[in-house]
């Protein structure tokens, strides 16, 4: 390896790079007066929200050709997209437009002064009235709306009616005693009653089961009394029993893949997830999709018929002093959250939205998706998922505390103590 070799390799590399700058300079020039709104997002690709979002962006750009252009900056992995947004905000460079999960941890985004205040805009032309008041209330902090609700989560209990019939269970149990009875019957025909999981980022399935139970014991405001209400301990006791007798052997440590695969393979008869999972089960296990029904959780206390549902995704924009830019961003916000476009998003990707819209028979809604809409309408009340009410470090501890309770055979009070310690 002598000097000549180095020179040759440098020349080669330089040539390569020159060729790249020719190929790579594909980014379009900005027309004078055109406002470009860059949107780094994980809503890309061919699954989930990708196709419908791309369609809406193209439409909006065509509508405002030469004036406003929304540019999708693809960050296909959701976690990585969160990292990118957090980092840019921390560096004081917020993206023009972005999505995030509004919760006790991300609330600090509001305090940075980097987000556009939309409070006054919502007053105009009744724009604010199109949003679900509850979701909008959550998005209002210190009287300011700096993000708009854009997607809702609703996570009823899913059950396999074929397996239930086989086990001789006619109706989904409404009380916890009926539930244990039904679970025993399922075991008798060799079916594991529930899918559970302590793994993944937040023990998703089990976290939702737990929240259902907590709601049925403690009622709508139970989270306001978090970790003090006896509901938290009682629900933990029920979870412990489910893990000990009525779930799969791999539940401890299982992730979303394992827990959903068990339900789709009819190894388990019950499961909890949101509407986004409908397309997954429809594509992968159409037979199970056909026999799946949704129900409210069995009641372990005074309340029944509620659902776990919360504001899942919010959209925000960077604060700007340029009125033209501000106006452009607001137009894009209005376009994206217009009831017609909200409906297209909802039907296009199977999600529930915090904006009301009409569905007619001509819309050809997936039957399971239709059940979601009904489940939301029929719910006696909604209770937030943990990620909406607890900071991230507490949410992350849920699966750990749950597995500690089951594996170490701790009393449910210890589970609550672990969660309380995490919350400190």
């Amino acid at each position: 390896m002598n000097r000549k070799l180095f020179i040759v390799s440098f020349v080669l590399i330089a040539a390569l790079l020159a060729s790249v700058s020719v190929f790579g300079g594909g980014s379009r020039e900005t027309a004078p007066g055109e406002v470009v709104i860059t949107w780094p997002t994980h809503w890309v690709g061919e699954m989930g929200a990708g196709p419908i979002i791309r369609e809406l962006v193209d439409e909006f750009n065509a509508l405002h050709a030469g004036e406003i252009r929304v540019v999708l900056e693809a960050h296909p992995e959701a976690d990585a997209a969160e990292d990118v947004i957090r980092t840019r905000l921390a560096a004081g460079q917020p993206p023009d437009f972005f999505l995030f999960k509004l919760g006790p941890t991300t609330e600090v985004y509001y305090e940075t002064g980097l987000l556009m205040d939309l409070t006054d805009e919502l007053e105009r032309d009744g724009w604010g009235a199109t949003f679900d008041p509850g979701a909008l209330a959550v998005s209002t902090i210190n009287g300011e709306v700096r993000s708009l609700p854009i997607e809702t989560a609703l996570t009823p209990i899913w059950y396999n009616t074929r397996l239930f019939e086989e086990a001789g269970i006619d109706e989904f149990p409404t009380t916890i005693d009926e539930f244990w009875e039904a679970a025993d019957r399922l075991l008798e025909i060799g079916v594991v009653p529930t899918s559970q999981m302590t793994g993944g980022a937040n023990a998703w399935t089990s976290m939702l089961w737990y929240t259902h139970l907590v709601g049925s014991i403690g009622g709508p405001d139970v989270w306001d009394r978090a970790w003090d209400d006896p509901a938290f301990e009682e629900a933990a006791g029920i979870m412990k029993r489910m893990y000990q007798e009525y779930t799969t052997r791999d539940a401890i440590g299982a992730g979303p893949g394992e827990s959903s695969a068990h339900f789709m393979n009819e190894r388990t008869a019950m499961f909890v997830n949101g509407p986004w999972f409908v397309s997954n089960i429809r594509d992968n296990a159409p037979d199970v999709h056909a026999v799946t029904r949704l129900a409210p959780a069995p009641s372990a206390g005074d309340y029944h018929g509620h659902q776990v549902g919360w504001l899942l995704t919010s959209a925000a924009a960077a604060h700007t002093d340029d009125p033209a830019r501000r106006d452009a961003v607001v137009q894009w916000f209005r376009f994206l959250t217009h009831p017609d476009n909200i409906k297209r998003q909802s039907l296009g990707r199977g999600s529930l939205m915090p904006v009301a819209f009409e569905i007619g028979p001509e819309d050809n809604v997936d039957p399971l998706q239709q059940q979601f809409i009904e489940a939301g309408n029929n719910a006696t009340f909604l209770i937030d998922g943990i990620e909406a009410v607890m900071p991230v470090h507490v949410v992350q501890e849920f699966g750990q505390a749950l597995s500690a309770m089951v594996l170490r055979d701790l009393p449910p009070s210890e589970f609550v103590a672990l969660m309380r310690a995490a919350a400190e």
Binding site: I252, G253, Q396
Partner: protein, 300 residues
């Protein structure tokens, strides 16, 4: 050695020129971020803007946190496995390969392949291998009539860490490469002389190869221990630290604090990770009886 001393004055500018690029990049990409990390580690950060000086507050909170203590313990176990399992295994393989058995070229290339596979895919594979329903491990045990030993490997307190560490040994190839490259620098005449003296293969390896490879063994141990300390992806993808935080490690703990916006705590973990890592690295170098000065003397 004396001669080298006289070169110092003559070559000062050359030395500065040669080290400058690395020095500048280290400043930009390591020193500057580390300094800001250190400053943040003494701050209580609520969100982004506000930060108040709390002295060693973050550190004392960390040491009072049982999950963090568990993470340190696990990192030490990881480091031990790196030094006493991974590197010896790699050494054994490298020595065998150096004797050029049939197909050695093929073996040498194949052994590095796991390093190329994406961690996401490997983690899925290992999760499947350890799964109690369709996993190979339980399947094997059942086949051997040892059903009572089958378990939920990644979901039990006793088995999760060993299972993770064993799955990590797939990366032995990394150190096989270093050690194998080291064997190339050993003069063949040494072995020829030993053969004439009647030394068998084992004696040759113990009295010739291993002493000659001491520097490379030390490099491997140092790197393996460093990787064990910053070990993150395997744990994150396979268990996320569970069950019951039994497999948590410091880098994972730090990552969780970061995603919870607790930057003060996260930075403190980062600093402690580096400090504890250096102490353990130095400690192992002493255990292996080869402080760098000693090697230099031996080799010169």
């Amino acid at each position: 050695m004396k001669k080298n001393k006289t070169l110092v004055q003559k070559n000062t500018w050359w030395i500065i020129l040669f080290t400058a690029p690395v020095f500048v990049l280290l400043l930009m990409f390591f020193v500057y971020p580390l300094i800001s990390l250190t400053i943040t580690s003494f701050m209580e950060t609520a969100g982004f803007g506000s930060a108040t000086f709390v002295g060693f507050g973050n550190f004392s909170r960390l040491f009072n946190n049982s999950v963090f203590r568990m993470s340190i313990r696990n990192n030490l176990i990881w480091a031990g496995s790196a030094a006493f399992l991974q590197v010896p295994l790699a050494l054994l393989i490298a020595l065998v390969l150096a004797r050029q058995p049939a197909g050695w070229r093929f073996f040498r290339s194949a052994y590095f392949l796991p390093n190329v596979i994406s961690l996401v895919a490997l983690a899925m594979l290992w999760r499947a291998v350890y799964n109690p329903y369709y996993g190979i491990l339980n399947g094997l045990l059942n086949l051997l009539g040892l059903d009572h030993l089958s378990r939920n490997w990644l979901g039990e307190l006793e088995t999760v860490l060993p299972a993770l560490i064993i799955s990590y040994q797939i990366y032995v190839g990394y150190f096989v490469i270093i050690l194998y490259a080291g064997t190339l620098s050993i003069s063949k005449s040494l072995y020829e002389a030993a053969e004439i003296d009647g030394a068998n293969v084992f004696q040759q390896e113990i009295y010739i190869s291993i002493p000659a490879l001491r520097g490379f063994i030390l490099s491997s141990v140092t790197l393996a221990v460093a990787f064990a300390f910053r070990q993150f992806e395997t744990t994150f993808l396979m268990t996320a630290g569970g069950p019951a935080n039994q497999s948590s490690v410091m880098a994972l703990f730090m990552h969780r604090r970061m995603s919870a916006f607790q930057n003060g705590m996260a930075s403190a973990v980062g600093i402690l990770l580096v400090i504890i890592g250096i102490v353990v690295m130095k400690g192992l170098q002493v255990i292996f009886g080869m402080r760098s000065a000693a090697i230099e003397d031996a080799q010169q």
